[in-house]
């Protein structure tokens, strides 16, 4: 039933069931793979992930997937990062000192400070909003069908701080401040929240992203 080849990168850092299931719900049977040829031949790639940043980078290195991921992104085809898969796209993380990331988007990944107002990890549903500076991009992104202030499901202790404000697609309040909850940078779309765990609105994000994947494929052919 699949008209596009979507690969979920399996670098042994997370349960891929729900990501696969969300794709299936929108009519796309995505394939999990840790093989660079499969990744390079895909129409679109999803990088999921939960767990530690440094473990993730080490696994990607062991599987020899760092350059294939970068090459794929540079080819201009649609690429989606989820949760840790979003954080890995940045230059570096402050977890365990400093760990270098994939550096596809300039910026750093930092930890929430636990205090009396917030618990760490941040687990649960929080709203996503447009940043003041990025009004135009929402409607051109997979979020276009999501209302302002819609609640999405988050599980994380770290969050990304993009160097360039124009990469920030949405922000989310936590405690006294807000953090970047999704980014858009060229062909990269990435979310700190889990759209596959954010009920029907989250599934809708997958379906919008997969529609864009079809469009891009159509243009290429």
């Amino acid at each position: 039933m699949s008209d596009v080849k979507v690969v979920i990168i399996d670098y042994h850092m997370s349960n891929l069931y729900s990501v696969k299931n969300a794709c299936e719900r929108t009519g796309v049977s995505a394939v999990a793979a840790d093989d660079k040829n499969k990744i390079m031949n895909a129409d679109a790639v999803i990088l999921p992930g939960v767990g530690a940043f440094s473990d993730a980078i080490n696994n990607l290195k062991k599987l020899d997937l760092i350059s294939p991921i970068k090459d794929f992104v540079n080819s201009g085809r649609p690429f989606m990062g989820i949760c840790l898969g979003m954080q890995l796209l940045f230059s570096e993380s402050e977890e365990f000192g400093q760990t270098k990331g994939l550096a596809l988007i300039p910026g750093r990944v930092v930890r929430f400070d636990a205090n009396k107002n917030i618990k760490v990890p941040h687990v649960g549903w929080s709203p996503i909003n447009r940043p003041k500076s990025g009004l135009g991009k929402w409607m051109d992104s997979p979020l276009r069908d999501v209302q302002e202030n819609e609640y999405m499901y988050f599980v994380h202790s770290f969050y990304a701080v993009p160097e360039n404000n124009k990469n920030v697609l949405s922000v989310t309040p936590y405690g006294e401040s807000e953090f970047c909850s999704s980014v858009l940078s060229g062909n990269i779309f990435a979310t700190q929240f889990h759209p596959e765990k954010s009920a029907e609105k989250g599934v809708k994000i997958y379906s919008e992203w997969l529609n864009a994947v079809r469009d891009v494929k159509g243009e290429r052919n």
């Binding site: 850092m13 997370s14 349960n15 069931y17 729900s18 299931n21 969300a22 719900r25 939960v50 767990g51 530690a52 473990d55 636990a114 107002n117 917030i118 618990k119 760490v120 990890p121 687990v123 649960g124 549903w125 929080s126 209302q147 819609e150 609640y151 499901y153 599980v155 994380h156 202790s157 936590y174 405690g175 596959e196 765990k197 954010s198 009920a199 029907e200 609105k201 989250g202 599934v203 809708k204």
Partner: protein, 290 residues
């Protein structure tokens, strides 16, 4: 801070059951029917607890997980009888998002470290079954509050956090199924002492109980069973497929549990919002029912 409402479903074999003080189980229906209903009505998460830890029936639990996970796009936590890393892997592969450990963690705390390292802290929930002792001390039990361990609750909760647990699922066995309200003292004691989220469970009978444990008990999430189950039973008339599972006369009679006030997810959320408690509203969910 947004709080969560978690629908807890106790499972025995293929059935959803419910007891009092975790005992005296009654068959209520098919877990996946209830889970689907709670998902559609705006539950923030679903929790499945295999109450008989039926290791010999594991395949049936895994089938239930897979059937459920296919239709619900919110987090699903599964607990009960998970002893090893391999057991955890199996339920995650079947479609669970998180696992809940109790006995295995108390027997061998290092499994928390190993499992959180392997699957991510956010995947590992530690269930603590607390019983208040005559001297006021809270002790952790296992096997649905039947087995004494001598482990003191607060110290154990802190240790779980230290070892990498992502959340604490805190049951007051004394209150469980009674509808008398949460043990606020217990919840507050644990929630204030750890920085990971604490889910309060056991005792919800009225809407005020839920707001009390969030405001006074400082819970980060609340787990509800009876209040929601008995509400759905009134709607759900699908008794097929589990007649062989013992006595369902109670179900067919359409009676309620008199200890709890039946309520729907939307009523709970609306009530909490009216009390100034931040939670994900249900209005946005219902619109997309299929």
């Amino acid at each position: 801070m947004t709080i969560r409402i978690i629908s807890r479903l106790d499972i025995k074999g293929p059935n959803l059951v419910k007891g009092i003080h975790l005992e005296g189980l009654r068959v209520l229906g098919k877990p996946e029917d209830f889970a689907r209903h709670y998902y559609r009505s705006g539950a923030d998460e679903i929790m499945y607890q295999d109450v008989v830890a039926s290791l010999y029936e594991r395949n049936s639990l895994e089938d239930i997980i897979t059937r459920t996970a296919k239709d619900i796009f919110i987090p699903l936590t599964v607990g009960g009888g998970l002893r090893t890393i391999e057991d955890i892997k199996k339920v995650l592969r079947a479609g669970a998002d998180k696992v809940s450990l109790n006995t295995a963690a108390i027997k061998e705390p290092e499994i928390i470290k190993e499992a959180s390292r392997k699957f991510g802290s956010s995947t590992i929930v530690i269930a603590i079954e607390a019983i208040k002792q005559p001297d006021g001390e809270y002790l952790a039990y296992t096997d649905n509050g039947r087995n004494y361990t001598g482990v003191e609750v607060l110290g154990w909760a802190k240790k779980c956090e230290e070892l990498g647990a992502g959340e604490i699922f805190l049951t007051s066995v004394d209150r469980e199924g009674t509808g008398q309200g949460f043990d606020i003292e217990l919840v507050r004691m644990v929630s204030r002492s750890v920085s990971i989220p604490v889910i309060a469970h056991g005792g919800a009978g009225r809407l005020e109980h839920i707001s009390d444990v969030l405001k006074d008990g400082k819970a980060d999430a609340v787990s509800i069973a009876s209040m929601l189950h008995y509400n759905f039973i009134k709607i759900n008339k699908n008794f097929s497929g589990y007649e062989h599972e013992g006595n369902i006369e109670f179900l067919k009679s359409g009676r309620n549990n008199s200890r709890v006030k039946n309520t729907g997810m939307a009523q709970i959320k609306d009530y909490l919002i009216s009390k100034g408690i931040d939670c994900r509203p249900t209005v946005n969910v219902g619109a997309l029912k299929r």
